[in-house]
């Protein structure tokens, strides 16, 4: 059990919570919140691994986590637009009602 183990377990906890939220939430907004939780856990695990292992380049780890953050921001923007479209078309954003493709 090293410090790396603790940090990886914390990020695993974030992943598990995000996954549980993704299953139980009924609306797109709640699912977006859960996905952000999971992405945050991914960034944390990347930084923990790169900063703890001596052979790894800490700069690369931090930059990778920054890219994950950028992707999360882009994803949140797109999901907001999708939520707007779904709200306009279906009048609600519950996943049960958004089931037709066209």
């Amino acid at each position: 059990m090293t410090t790396l183990t603790f940090f990886l377990l914390a990020s695993l906890l974030l992943l598990a919570m995000g996954l549980a939220g993704l299953i139980t939430r009924r609306t797109l907004v709640g699912m977006l919140i859960s996905v952000e939780l999971m992405l945050n856990g991914a960034g944390l695990s990347i930084v923990a691994a790169y900063k703890s292992v001596p052979a790894a380049d800490g700069v690369l780890g931090q930059l990778a986590a920054l890219f994950v953050m950028g992707l999360a921001a882009a994803e949140a923007t797109l999901v907001l637009a999708m939520i707007l479209v779904a709200q306009r078309r279906f009048g609600k954003v519950t996943v049960r009602d958004i089931s037709i493709l066209r």
């Binding site: 139980t24 703890s52 923007t77 954003v93």
Partner: protein, 209 residues
């Protein structure tokens, strides 16, 4: 005058530091090495992450869920500080708390599910069961793997390498990922604007569709 001020400041700091040092001496036999403060901070951050995360996934009010998400982000920012990456911690606050949470808030405001909506009822028992399964499955699969294998890797205490190196890396070795993420952000924003404004007719008083 300045001398007096600094004297007062150091006296005040002494008042804060003395009980902490006493606490350290009292606890030191039970704690691993001199790193007890880091472990304490880690425990606090884990508690903050747990509280915020469960608030985010269980709260029946989406605004409260978003506040739980903010709490989780703060905890992860603290973990970045523990990992000697202060720049990432501030970026976490800027991007996630500053931008993503505002986006989520907009999403909550622009839809009609804040109060008395679909999210305000408890999920069905089957859904809760699936949720518990989804919570336990990653822990059961990856948890033992992490405990078994991550402990074997020799680790060092994370050292800060300076924010300047990050900028140098972005402009030299990793310039291609940097440009790619810029393009992705641009495309995502263009797509979001296109999706939001499709069918928007200014002649009909800005009515959509």
């Amino acid at each position: 005058m300045q001398q007096e001020a600094s004297n007062i400041a150091s006296t005040l700091l002494e008042y804060i530091a003395r009980p902490l040092r006493a606490l350290q001496e009292w606890l030191s036999p039970y704690l691993p090495g001199d790193e007890w403060a880091a472990y304490l901070a880690f425990a606090v951050y884990v508690l903050v992450i747990l509280a915020g995360g469960f608030g985010a996934i269980l709260s029946r009010n989406l605004i409260r869920a978003m506040l739980g998400l903010v709490l989780t982000f703060l905890g992860v920012a603290g973990m970045f500080l523990l990992l000697a990456s202060p720049f990432l911690a501030f970026m976490q606050l800027l991007i996630y708390v500053g931008a993503v949470c505002v986006l989520i808030f907009f999403a909550v405001m622009l839809t009609q599910n804040t109060d008395g909506g679909e999210e305000s009822r408890l999920p069905s028992l089957a859904s809760l069961g699936y949720g518990a399964l989804a919570f336990l499955a990653p822990l059961a699969v990856a948890g033992p793997l992490i405990v078994m294998y991550a402990g074997r890797v020799p680790v060092e205490t994370p050292q800060p390498e300076g924010t300047g190196l990050l900028g140098a890396g972005l402009l030299s070795s990793y310039v291609l990922p940097f440009e790619l993420i810029s393009i992705i952000l641009l495309v995502a924003m263009a797509g979001a604007v296109y999706l939001a404004f499709r069918g928007f007719n200014p002649k009909r008083g800005g009515q959509n569709q």
